[in-house]
Symmetry: C2
Subunit: 505 residues, 2 copies
């Protein structure tokens, strides 16, 4: 790079890194709120978060930063290294998006999200959707304004999806998820009517919290999560948060009468944590040091939770430890019964409790409904009926009330519209990556059965983690697997696994 | 207030409150660092703290804020409410002080403090004072520059003391502490030679951590600490931190072989917490909602730890619970033996382990030495010898090495010069306040023996907590007790208590 360009690039990077440090302070506030803060501290925490959000928005839309990015973007590409090119392009993209949002809309969205979550919590508690309706209408109105402000070439939903899955388009996602639905609905029905089902009661027994904690830590450590630069804590709605390049914190919740919640939750969050711990620390605060998208992030959590954690091979290694940990509950249970039970496929009403196969049907319901709400094809007042109809159609069951139906998720009340499909994208990416890893590495199951996970982790580090945002999600999938995103690997995985367990297909 | 003045005052208050919210974010970072953060996160946390410190300094020295304060200060006092007057005066004082510090000095002090703590830790570990010397010389050089920049009328030390004990003067503190020394040195000697001493081994036994935790929480709750807007956590160097007006967190450390550390530590930090919880929340972020000084803060912790927590009456109520909690260690120990043991007076080398009577002698050593270092009357290279000499003179013992001597405290390495005397001021204020409370309320011991502490807490709330910074420490003491600060109440308390225990005087 010419000297003056190098200097300019350095300035931009320094500024971006500082912004990232402020963002990480916001993450400290968030993590503390969810794991430590006494409830009485909530009001003040909201003030702290609002101030930080305002400060961050200001930094992103800073005119000087924008000018510097514009100047760098105008430099002939040949005189910029590819690394610098990635950072400049992605920072400029983010800056340009933030600039399009009027400060008043940003504030109104933040305020409505806080009010929305309160309103949603009350409505859910009382099973009173009408009480929540005005807020939800307002939120979708604001999200429409946000989409219009951000702009889009094909549909308003694109603008929102882009917040979570940058450069992805609804038109690409729709057919993939529709294809998934076409395969999953009959698969779920087949399983329901095959006459076989596991003894799920195995997983309900006596699972002391401290023993679950110890086993969970051992499992997370085994797959590679570094506790020397991380933590595991307890929360109501588990998440993974990075408070710094060497401070990655996962969370879980314990049910002393149910095995699955904590253990698979820990594997899931540790999967997120492995991605974060695998990002190149020297690029911390720059796009090359950050995760590609929520979908790619979710692919890492789902891969470790489901493709690894719910495999027969994983438990070949871990089941003896689990039996030793919970002699009363599992001591007399054969491994195959346990393995079948943790893969119990059963249409259910609650997304976060859904199994590996039907989970995506829950997402489809939301993906389709939020598009219709945004486009105005569906009125908020008609949402509960539409919700129930889709559950009946895709899962064969109808929620008995809105609490177990449309009021179950926090997302819409918090303004997270366009977020849901990233969960399914994550499942799809996960299956596609995993199939590729198996094809390249071979013998993964044998390794898992010996408690060895480093080859898989090394492959993920090499193929995905170390690149940060060098590629978009679509580019990454193409590069890593040689093919665009497809529902096939997931369907094949589920067909093979459930076919064997349920003796179908 | 005239309308335009009211509007200006409102602006200033809004700005100050926002600054306080940012300060509370810094506190979240600090609390997390000391209680939760994995060690690997330290480097990034330093970056976060540096950014926040810079942001806060910028806010304090903001020229517009300064102009507004100047404008308000010029308004005739009659047209300003007394509340507003206090806030304006104290905010202006703080602003004027911050403005005097060149940004470069602020940054150099922050950097040297970080380096200093590293250097100190290494030196302490290796008992290598010479390795620490250059850093300490640099730090005292910077503190001299700071004092010169801030300005002072009598001596440079005044400028530094004012950071922790606003509006207090060295010339006032010196004779009070000297008077204390004149009484304490002979008292400690008398106790040493009286021939009586408690069986201190009582307190070394089996004290399981979770049982200590439960008893500590019960004790803190009993004296009035509200856990609904607080927490208790574990740390290496206990502290109390307010993360918001309804989020006050105390910390302790557990020694499973020693009773005192956690329990008295919890009472001490809960004392700080009670003060914070008693500040008027409606004035949060303004001087009227903030603690007067470190000395007054310490008076609250010492009052609950020593005047209450080490009293015979307190244990009349709590000892049966302690015996039940630790049947093996305390089951067979009579209360009077226990009470004598927790009041064991014995010259020792380590300040933070010192007893109620000799503690202030440790402070005197530091108070005298840091003045001499600042004034250049003592060279850093001569510090270890001067330290040992004073320990011999005041406490009758000489540290066998610098690790147990001059290298024991973190303060100087962190730039905390002028901080130590606030510990002794706290002890003095505590005794003076407590004597006054007893004179006004009467029968405190009888109440404690019944497990009742609300009358004392109510008195502290009424007389001290609710006023925030309405009065300086000196004004507050005068107002509350009708007399200026004096060493007499503390000496009388110690003479009476130790006289009875050691059968002297």
């Amino acid at each position: 790079m010419p000297n003056d360009v190098a200097k300019l690039y350095e300035d931009v990077c320094r500024y971006a890194r500082r912004t990232a440090v402020f963002t990480s302070i916001e993450t400290v506030l968030f993590w503390d709120e969810r794991t430590q803060m006494p409830a009485a501290g909530a009001e003040h925490r909201a003030e702290q978060c609002t101030l930080m959000a305002g400060l961050l928005h200001k930094r992103w839309v800073d005119p000087k930063f924008g000018e510097q990015l514009a100047e760098l973007t105008a430099v002939p590409i040949s005189s910029i290294s590819s690394d610098a090119g990635v950072n400049i392009r992605r920072l400029k993209r983010q800056h340009d998006k933030k600039v399009k949002l009027p400060q008043s809309l940003v504030e109104e969205l933040a305020r409505t999200a806080v009010l929305g979550q309160q309103s949603w919590q009350e409505a859910r508690q009382k099973d009173d959707f009408p009480a929540f309706r005005p807020l939800l209408e307002r939120m979708f109105e604001l999200k429409r304004q946000q989409a219009e402000a951000l702009g889009y070439s094909q549909c308003a939903y694109d603008a929102l999806l882009d917040e979570y899955e940058p450069e992805e388009l609804t038109a690409n996602v729709r057919p993939v998820l529709a294809g998934l639905r076409e395969q999953l609905v009959p698969l779920a029905a087949e399983i329901q009517h095959c006459g076989r089902q596991p003894n799920a009661s195995i997983l309900h027994g006596k699972f002391p919290r401290n023993v679950q904690d110890a086993l969970g830590r051992r499992a997370a450590t085994a797959i590679g999560f570094e506790f020397a630069r991380g933590r595991l804590d307890v929360t109501a709605h588990p998440f993974c948060a990075s408070l710094g390049p060497n401070d990655h914190r996962i969370t879980t919740r314990y049910d002393e009468q149910f095995f699955n919640a904590a253990l698979f939750g820990i594997l899931h969050e540790a999967g997120h944590g492995l991605y974060e711990q695998g990002l190149p620390p020297e690029n911390y605060g720059l796009p090359l040091g950050e995760a590609v998208s929520l979908g790619i992030h979710e692919s890492q959590s789902r891969l470790w939770e489901n493709l690894v954690g719910r495999s027969r091979a994983f438990w070949t290694h871990f089941y003896p430890q689990a039996q030793q940990s919970f002699p009363e509950a599992l001591g007399g249970v054969p491994i195959d019964d346990f393995y079948f039970a943790i893969n119990d496929v059963r249409p259910s009403l609650i997304r976060i409790e859904a199994d590996e196969a039907t989970y995506n049907l829950h997402i489809l319901v939301r993906f389709e409904l939020e598009q219709a709400l945004l486009d105005g094809d569906l009125k908020v007042s008609d949402l509960p009926a539409a919700w129930n109809e889709k559950y009946q159609k895709y899962l064969g069951i109808t929620p008995p009330n809105d609490r177990l139906g449309v009021l179950q998720d926090v997302h819409w009340s918090a303004g997270l519209v366009g977020y849901f499909p990233t969960y399914s994208l994550g499942n799809l990416y996960a299956a596609q990556f995993f199939a590729q890893a198996e094809a390249e590495l071979g013998g993964l199951a044998e390794q898992f059965a010996r408690g060895e996970f480093h080859a898989l982790l090394g492959w993920l580090r090499e193929k995905i983690h170390r690149h940060g945002q060098r590629y978009t999600a679509a580019e990454l999938v193409q590069r890593v697997t040689g093919r665009p995103l497809s529902a096939r690997p997931l369907i094949e995985h589920l067909r093979a696994k459930m076919g064997a367990l349920y003796r179908i297909g």
